[in-house]
Symmetry: C2
Subunit: 226 residues, 2 copies
DNA sequence: AGATTGTTAATAGTAATACTATTATAAATA
DNA sequence: TATTTATAATAGTATTACTATTAACAATCT
């Protein structure tokens, strides 16, 4: 579904739209691979330019700095996720089913989102787990927010919150629960890999335990607040 | 209570124990102020050295790099929190009361922890909210973990999980719930300040809503898994 | 006292990173 | 063909993180 759709992103994310040239597309594709491999701190425009190959300065024509590039990728991810969630839950009668679908989508995006020719969903998911916090935990948060650079992430949380409210209309904390749910899943995925004593879930079971935990958390809370 | 206790931290955090000299203590005190004001990215050893004042090289005698200094501060924070939680819940009969105390402590550390002569709890709390994720979201996570640099944070989550298990012995996800609870509170605090559409809680009410939300979340989950 | 040793701080760097100013090249248009 | 425009390449600079070396200053021992 996703592969045919051109996702229009906030124009403050780039200086020159990378989707409009082959060189720009190569920047996106290679940056996903490099950030996935090296981590965001070790990732530099120098390394990206030799990988493409092009020059450092050329990349600066497209992106103000590497932080904007990271924001571009996270914006794309959450936009794609929002589209996918809307598509999957379209015409679903039961709010419960929509919520379950949402949780499964966040935990296993590759199961639902088709392979994209340029942006590997699998690697993007890894980047989201490891680096997405860094896209908003900065001193420029308020300026960036005014430029609406977090809209796709907010949108995703908001449609998830809307599903919660459909299931439990009187619940007062739908937005907090939605953002907690998303962040918790990402954190638990990270902990499963690196700090297993902070979780009871095992990554080798395909995160089945994580799914149980989160559904448990959400429905017990919503059922008591119907 | 805390102010008289010397917290012994992992010796891999420093090259020379900053607690053992006046200069070292000044580094800790000033670094809390500067990271709080500037954010971790803008914070440099150069700025710290002029603030003390001393030289950059001298600081490098104490800390391998600025990342280790951040880890030192977060280690101190969670060690102090663990001591405080143990102290507050000592001799408490009801697990429910202990859990409520824990939640209130995480949300309002300054209400419980006395002012420390050197490390401002209020500013440290701000640093924990804004920067603590960066202390473990790095490529060196596995090596750092082997050096036991995340033990204090794990310890805190584990004693919280122990309280959950005391309340609901059959619950299978006590550790996941504990880490989710801590991370969620920190994130919600951040969202209240900067991205209010991701939360339903208001910061001007003294985070009363946040307390309701988290208690709601935890007890609804635990009650269903008793 | 004078020599030795060890601890601490200061000097003066280097390598890498993030970013920019300027020039060259190619394509589109008049 | 001449002119404009868009794009890329070259060649930098400023800053940052970090290190190697030297100097100062005690404490200890002969």
């Amino acid at each position: 579904m996703i592969q045919n759709i051109q996702i229009q992103l906030n124009e403050h994310l780039y200086l020159k739209d990378p989707m409009q040239s082959e060189l720009g597309k190569a920047m996106l594709q290679k940056s996903v691979e490099l950030i996935y491999e090296l981590g965001f701190e070790e990732f530099t425009f120098k390394k990206l330019s030799t990988a493409i190959p092009t020059t450092e300065a050329t990349i600066y024509r497209y992106f103000e700095n590497k932080h904007r590039l990271l924001q571009y990728l996270t914006n794309w991810y959450w936009s794609a996720m929002t589209i996918e969630y809307t598509y999957l839950t379209n015409n679903m009668q039961q709010a419960e089913q929509a919520i379950n679908t949402g949780i499964e989508l966040i935990i296993h995006p590759t199961k639902f989102m088709p392979q994209h020719p340029m942006l590997s969903v699998e690697k993007l998911f890894g980047i989201i787990i490891n680096e997405s916090n860094k896209s908003y935990l900065t001193t420029s948060i308020d300026e960036d927010n005014q430029l609406k650079l977090f809209k796709p992430y907010k949108d995703f949380c908001n449609i998830l919150a809307a599903s919660f409210l459909k299931y439990a209309p009187k619940f007062s904390f739908a937005h907090s629960l939605a953002s907690t749910c998303v962040e918790s899943i990402l954190h638990q995925c990270y902990f499963m890999q690196h700090l297993p004593s902070l979780t009871d879930c095992k990554s080798n079971t395909g995160a089945k335990g994580l799914q149980t935990f989160i559904k448990n958390l959400i429905f017990n809370t919503l059922d008591k607040n119907k």
